[in-house]
């Protein structure tokens, strides 16, 4: 409760406070991909200070959140991008609103469970992996996965109150919510401050059987959105994992998670094809590793495409461990 109160009264700094230090540039995967400063947080802030900003600069952001913890001015950088998206009516907005209306109208039966899983789209697309995750964690999938809400958050489309109520209703009686989508996780932590809401990656990596299977020759790929949204705590958590198991991480020298995928809003909405190869190669560049362990299934697919060593999801480690 205190966290919510504190956040509510903390003044969030904005583009006007940007001093132009460029620390955000160093961690921005969009900058790595395009080398175009206008498509980065730095470029957006400076363009706004100058009074003019292009839609491309707003749409290109992948919302990985890497810029948030490194900003010395403590600007809510990804929040700033989301605000800009809310101000621009996106061409996909009507379709998303229609989808949310449709979801609102659907009846829902609330099953009481102490913990529930909110999977992301990649897990929903891979039912075998999803069932492995639920078995391992011993918790059911939430009745309403909120995929339309996650996409609305991403696009800056305002979520109707009725839809939000319908989504939240089955979660209110749940004490622990495990969330696979990093953006939805961040949002839920803000609107349900009293609940125990954790990322799927952190939950799986805390599982004893999973931990036992981590090896020093593994590259452990942290899901960037969840990590950056709770950076101060998680940077210590993963450093502990490194100390205990010796594996390396997709962290740069600033201890920021290098995402394996970089997707603009049009790519997220399916209007443009994915183009993750160069970013996935950068995650692996120069590393002497025998296996890649990922928290996020989307990263798993992107890394498997450019790598000739095994890429496994955390949930798969438990069974590997049992066989050992």
């Amino acid at each position: 409760m205190w966290g919510f109160v504190k956040n509510a009264f903390t003044s969030r700094r904005d583009h006007a406070d940007c001093s132009g230090c460029s620390l955000c540039l160093l961690v921005c995967p969009v900058w790595r991909k395009t080398r175009d400063i206008t498509l980065t947080p730095h470029g957006r802030s400076k363009a706004m200070q100058h009074g003019d900003i292009d839609r491309a600069a707003i749409d290109h952001c992948s919302l990985c959140g890497a810029c948030d913890p490194v900003c010395p001015e403590q600007i809510d950088v990804s929040g700033m991008t989301l605000k800009l998206r809310r101000r621009l009516v996106h061409p996909e907005a009507p379709a998303l609103l229609a989808r949310m209306e449709e979801m609102t109208a659907q009846p829902i039966t609330t099953k009481h469970a102490p913990a529930k899983l909110l999977p992301d789209q990649a897990l929903l697309d891979h039912p075998e992996m999803l069932s492995r995750v639920t078995r391992l964690l011993g918790m059911p999938v939430a009745e309403d996965e909120g995929m339309d809400i996650a996409m609305a958050l991403e696009s800056g489309v305002v979520i109707p109150a009725e839809r939000m109520q319908r989504f939240m209703a089955p979660l209110r009686g749940t004490m622990r919510i495990v969330v696979a989508n990093g953006l939805l996780l961040k949002h839920l932590k803000q609107v349900l401050p009293t609940k125990n809401i954790v990322s799927l990656g952190e939950t799986l990596s805390g599982h004893e059987e999973v931990r036992r299977s981590l090896r020093a020759s593994d590259l452990y790929v942290i899901e960037s959105r969840a990590y950056h949204s709770d950076y101060q705590r998680l940077v210590k958590y993963y450093d502990g994992l490194r100390v205990d198991h010796g594996c390396s991480f997709n962290l740069d020298l600033q201890r920021i998670a290098i995402p394996a995928t970089v997707r603009s809003l049009p790519q997220r909405l399916g209007a443009m094809p994915h183009d993750d190869d160069s970013q996935a190669r950068w995650v692996l560049h120069g590393r002497n590793i025998a296996r890649i362990v990922v928290e996020n299934l989307e990263d798993c697919i992107a890394l498997a495409k450019v790598s000739n060593i095994p890429v496994v999801h955390l949930a798969e480690l438990a069974e590997d461990g049992a066989r050992d």
């Binding site: 406070d17 940007c18 001093s19 132009g20 230090c21 460029s22 620390l23 540039l25 160093l26 080398r35 175009d36 400063i37 206008t38 730095h42 470029g43 400076k46 363009a47 200070q49 100058h50 009074g51 003019d52 900003i53 292009d54 600069a57 490194v70 010395p72 001015e73 940077v235 210590k236 450093d239 740069d252 020298l253 600033q254 201890r255 560049h285 120069g286 590393r287």
Partner: protein, 523 residues
């Protein structure tokens, strides 16, 4: 009001604040361009058409031009007519050839960390070098790396670390670019031992102001190499650089605390001249909490320091210094405000320098990240002025003490950062008209005087008066400066003398007939 000012009226006054001399003096004044009338846009349309015909992407949207409207200093403002993001040497060559032909100024920008407007374009083309930021080859046997010039030192470190290597010395700032640094110097806390960053360059690929792509080094086109290194961007654009590298090592840090500047500086100079440590530097809170930082790459060097030099240092440990400070301020209760500031600063800053994710087995990893993040977090601001003095060893204490008094006169709080720079006798020609003072032998010493802006808004007159007073010390004592370009270029003739400046100006005119490259920086 001249026409040039009207051309730029879209920029809001922003940071111009009350003047301490005459509080109302600037209220009705529009902000003026630092250098308002050198070029009036002649030939721009012809130039931009030709550039596009030759395949160079020139971007003219308000958004991208606005992105580059100021530098890290935040006191000089200007917008280019167009921006070119550097992609390769051939493209830069095409740009510069066309710029010579149509006499259009080209301002080159790397990390944009200048504070005197040196990387701000007052019209013309802004060439954003960060587009050229690939590491081309790491040669672990030869201990060199070949990289593009626009790369940030941090990005270079990221790639080198994947193969457990590191650069030799680089600014304690993650977002300095390699090319920009080689053009002005680059100081690290290992510079007392390894020299400035510019001295670690083995070879360069340079695009001259007339568009030739030339490879240069001490052995090949040496004259161009001498002029480009520490040349403030006057004689070419660094598109590629070969730099020395070394195996990566974490550091064992030691901090010694002093309550005065003189003894700390003397102790640092003793360590430097005796090669007693791998890293050393001084970081202060005002002039009363002075921290001498000493660090080591190896246990052997640390042990030798402890045996031979530690007993000779006059600094205190943390507890001893705290007791001394308590006594000092108990006897001077009227300075309670200062004491509270020191205590608050210590409580905020110290944990940042010892973040657990960067400390392993008592050693600091990735020191540049630790220091740079702290620098931006605790000293960063939308306005920054960092006048500096570079001196020979024997004049350094006096220069710092005098500069510190100037800081106290202008600002309630400030920080000093001091470091030694080992000089390479064979690079003496590089050092002419640079930050290396002409009378320095063996080592030069530099001090940055950084006021803490702390959310205040100071007028440009106030900031300029402060900088001038610091720079006057340099003229008086016969030193040099790191930041003598842009708004401080009025000091160039005063400190280097007409003979040297005229000789360099003649070289510049020969190399850059239309005087298009970085024209507002030096000449």
């Amino acid at each position: 009001m001249n026409i040039e000012t009207l051309k730029y009226k879209r920029i809001e006054p922003g940071t111009v604040g009350p003047c301490h001399v005459g509080p109302d003096a600037l209220v009705y004044l529009k902000r003026q361009q630092t250098n308002p009338s050198r070029w009036n846009g002649d030939n721009w349309q012809d130039f931009s058409s030709v550039l596009r015909e030759r395949g160079v992407e020139l971007r003219e949207s308000a958004a991208i031009r606005g992105t580059f409207s100021t530098d890290a200093g935040g006191t000089a403002y200007g917008v280019p007519h167009g921006v070119v993001i550097a992609r390769n040497a051939e493209q830069v060559s095409t740009l510069l050839k066309a710029a010579q032909q149509y006499r259009v100024p080209v301002t080159v920008r790397g990390g944009g960390l200048t504070t005197e407007g040196e990387s701000v374009a007052f019209g013309g083309v802004l060439l954003d070098m960060t587009g050229m930021c690939r590491v081309l080859q790491i040669d672990i046997e030869a201990l060199t790396v070949r990289t593009e010039g626009g790369i940030f030192w941090h990005s270079l470190a990221e790639e080198l670390r994947r193969v457990n290597m590191d650069y030799l010395s680089a600014p304690l700032n993650l977002t300095s670019s390699v090319g920009g640094t080689l053009g002005v110097g680059g100081i690290d806390v290992n510079s007392p031992r390894l020299g400035c960053s510019a001295d670690q360059a083995v070879a360069l690929q340079v695009v001259t102001p007339t568009g030739e792509i030339v490879e240069c080094s001490d052995a090949q086109n040496a004259e161009l190499f001498q002029r480009v290194i520490l040349g403030y961007g006057q004689f070419g654009v660094i598109t590629e650089a070969t730099l020395k590298i070394r195996p990566y090592t974490p550091l064992r840090m030691h901090y010694f605390y002093y309550d005065g500047l003189r003894s700390a500086i003397q102790d640092m100079q003793m360590l430097v001249s005796n090669d007693a440590s791998d890293y050393s530097g001084i970081l202060t809170i005002m002039d009363c909490a002075v921290n001498l930082l000493v660090a080591f790459d190896s246990d052997e060097r640390e042990a030798a320091f402890k045996a031979n030099w530690l007993p000779k240092l006059r600094g205190y440990g943390e507890t001893g210094f705290a007791l001394r400070m308590m006594l000092r301020y108990t006897l001077r209760p009227w300075k309670l405000g200062e004491a509270m500031f020191l205590y608050k600063r210590k409580r905020e800053l110290f944990p940042e320098l010892q973040r657990p994710e960067y400390m392993r087995d008592g050693k600091m990893h990735d020191r540049t990240v630790v220091f740079s993040r702290a620098v931006w977090k605790f000293w960063g601001s939308k306005q920054m002025v960092i006048p500096d003095l570079a001196m020979s060893a024997d004049k350094f204490v006096e220069a710092v003490e005098r500069g510190s008094k100037v800081c106290r006169k202008y600002f309630p709080h400030y920080t000093l950062y001091m470091v030694g720079i080992k000089l390479r006798p064979d690079h003496k020609p590089h050092y002419e008209m640079s930050c290396i003072p002409p009378d320095a032998e063996g080592w030069a010493y530099g001090c940055e005087f950084e006021p803490m802006i702390e959310g205040h808004v100071y007028s440009r007159d106030h900031l300029q008066s402060f900088k001038n007073e610091i720079y006057n010390i340099g003229v008086d004592l016969g030193g040099s400066y790191y930041r003598f370009g842009g708004m401080m270029k009025g000091y160039i003739r005063r400190v280097f003398g007409d003979e040297v400046v005229d000789r360099h100006l003649a070289m510049k005119r020969k190399a850059d007939p239309a005087m298009i490259l970085n024209r507002d920086v030096i000449f």
